[in-house]
Each structure stands twice: as structure tokens, then as C-alpha cells.
Amino acid sequence: MLTNVRLISKDDLLETVQELARDNYRLLSITATEIAGGFDLIYHFAQGMTMLNLRFSIGYEQEVPSITPFYFCAFVPENELKDFHGIKIANLPINYRQLFILSELTPVKTPLAPRAAAASGTEVLPE
């Protein structure tokens, strides 16, 4: 089950991550799920075998600060968020501009956020 979840707000993110970086936590990944009106974000950290998950949600238009100053490796999942969900990330040092895994020839944009794509008028996946 999903245990050890700490609910935070978007503005506390950088501060909390800085603390975790000081305590030698490893960043495992970042997961986004599309929910009504926005996205649900989970940052997975681990110290040895124990996990810690930071969780908050944002609206479609809100921007998330990049945590690359503390965890450089975050550029990989953050570029994925941009690709698959179209989430806006502020201050991303290595920015692939939505071409990290998807290519310019891919017929759909933001495949894992079909509702957002439908709202913005781009092509939608068949259900």
C-alpha cells in the first residue's frame, strides 16, 4: 500500500526537498496523475529501505518549481512530466521542450492527460 505519505503544499516543496537532501535521502521518482481540474503529484524519496512520499496537487495552469538544485537527477522525471502530462516546470536546467521521449512526429500531445488535451483542443486519443 501507499504508506508514509506527507501532504505538503506546492510552496513548501523546495524547502522540504532541501531538508531531505541534507538528510541523504535518494530521489526515486516523481509521479503525476490527472485528476479533475489538475494533477496529483507524488515525489518518491527513500533512505535505505524506507520510503517517504511527498504529495500535493496543482491546477492545470499552475507551475511547479524544479527540484534540480538539490537533486540534479530530477531532470529526468521532470522532463517526463512535461512530456506526458504537459505540466509546467519552472527553471528546468536541461529542457527538452516536450521532446524527451515523445517526438515531433507523435500524433498526440500529453498522452497521459487526455482531459487537458481535450480542453486545449489538440488531438485526443480514442477511448
Partner: protein, 156 residues
């Protein structure tokens, strides 16, 4: 020069490109080159250069980005050439056929001469397919030669 062409029949060079998919077939293709199956005893050699190759082995489903690379590789190969689609992903897209990023089969991008299904294709099946491809290659070559020889007659 009959002996030259008969010798060439049994020594086509291979170019392998994995276009996507799970790389299970790609691993099996490499396994077919190793001691237990040993493709090289038929004179086949895996090369990395498309200009040297006669047979293009495609494994995996073709997606938006790799389709372009595949097309490039195919166009760089010199005539005559044979394309073998190994595995169900290269044939039709297999289990991923309704994915948003895929072409349903390699034949949407390059002309495919031989289809080898199965998930994943066994090394034995890959040997079968490549031997058939070698025959096809020899056949095409013979036809081309005939066409060459006949062409001046028809003009005269």
C-alpha cells in the same frame, strides 16, 4: 562467373536494427550469432554499416522517431536488398498495435519481403528466415542479371 554468384548466394551480410518493442527478438537475434546456433557458419556476418549489408533485419515495433532512422538505413543499402521483419511487433505491432506512437508494422515504413511471427522469435526460426532471405536475394540477383542481359537485345 557462375561460381562467384553461387558463392555470394551463401554469404549475405546482415544489418540489424531494433526499432522499438521489448528487444526480446533483438536478443534472440544476437543469440543466433553465438556458438550454439552460430549464424556465421552460413557465411552471414552482422555488420554495422548499411552500405555493406544485403539483408536488413527489423525487430520491434516501429514508432514515430525510429521509423525515420529505419527509412534512412533502408535507403542507404545498395540493391538488391531484402528486408526481414522478425517478431510480431515488426509484423503488425503485436500487443502494442493500438499504441498512440506506433505504426502497425514495419511494412508501413519500408517494403518488407519476409515476415517471421512469434513472440519472441526463436533463434532457430531466425535462422530459417535468414536462409529463406538468402534464397530470395539470390533470386532477385538472378532476375536483375537476366534483365541486364536482355536489355541490349531488345534495343537492337
Amino acid at each position: 562467373m557462375a561460381w562467384v554468384s553461387s558463392a555470394r548466394k551463401r554469404s549475405p551480410w546482415l544489418l540489424h536494427y531494433e526499432t522499438g518493442g521489448c528487444n526480446g527478438c533483438a536478443i534472440e537475434f544476437v543469440a543466433a550469432l553465438t556458438p550454439l546456433y552460430d549464424l556465421e557458419r552460413f557465411g552471414m556476418l552482422n555488420t554495422g554499416n548499411p552500405k555493406h549489408a544485403d539483408i536488413l533485419v527489423v525487430t520491434g515495433c516501429v514508432n514515430a522517431r525510429s521509423g525515420r532512422v529505419l527509412r534512412n538505413l533502408y535507403e542507404q543499402m545498395s540493391e538488391p536488398k531484402v528486408v526481414v521483419a522478425v517478431g510480431v511487433c515488426a509484423c503488425t505491432g503485436g500487443i502494442f498495435h493500438d499504441g498512440y506512437n506506433l505504426a502497425p508494422g514495419a511494412d508501413k515504413v519500408v517494403p518488407v519481403d519476409l515476415y517471421l511471427p512469434n513472440c519472441a522469435a526463436r533463434p532457430e526460426a531466425i535462422i530459417d528466415a535468414l536462409l529463406t532471405a538468402a534464397d530470395l536475394l539470390a533470386e532477385t540477383r538472378r532476375r536483375d542479371q537476366h534483365a541486364h542481359q536482355r536489355a541490349p537485345d531488345q534495343q537492337g
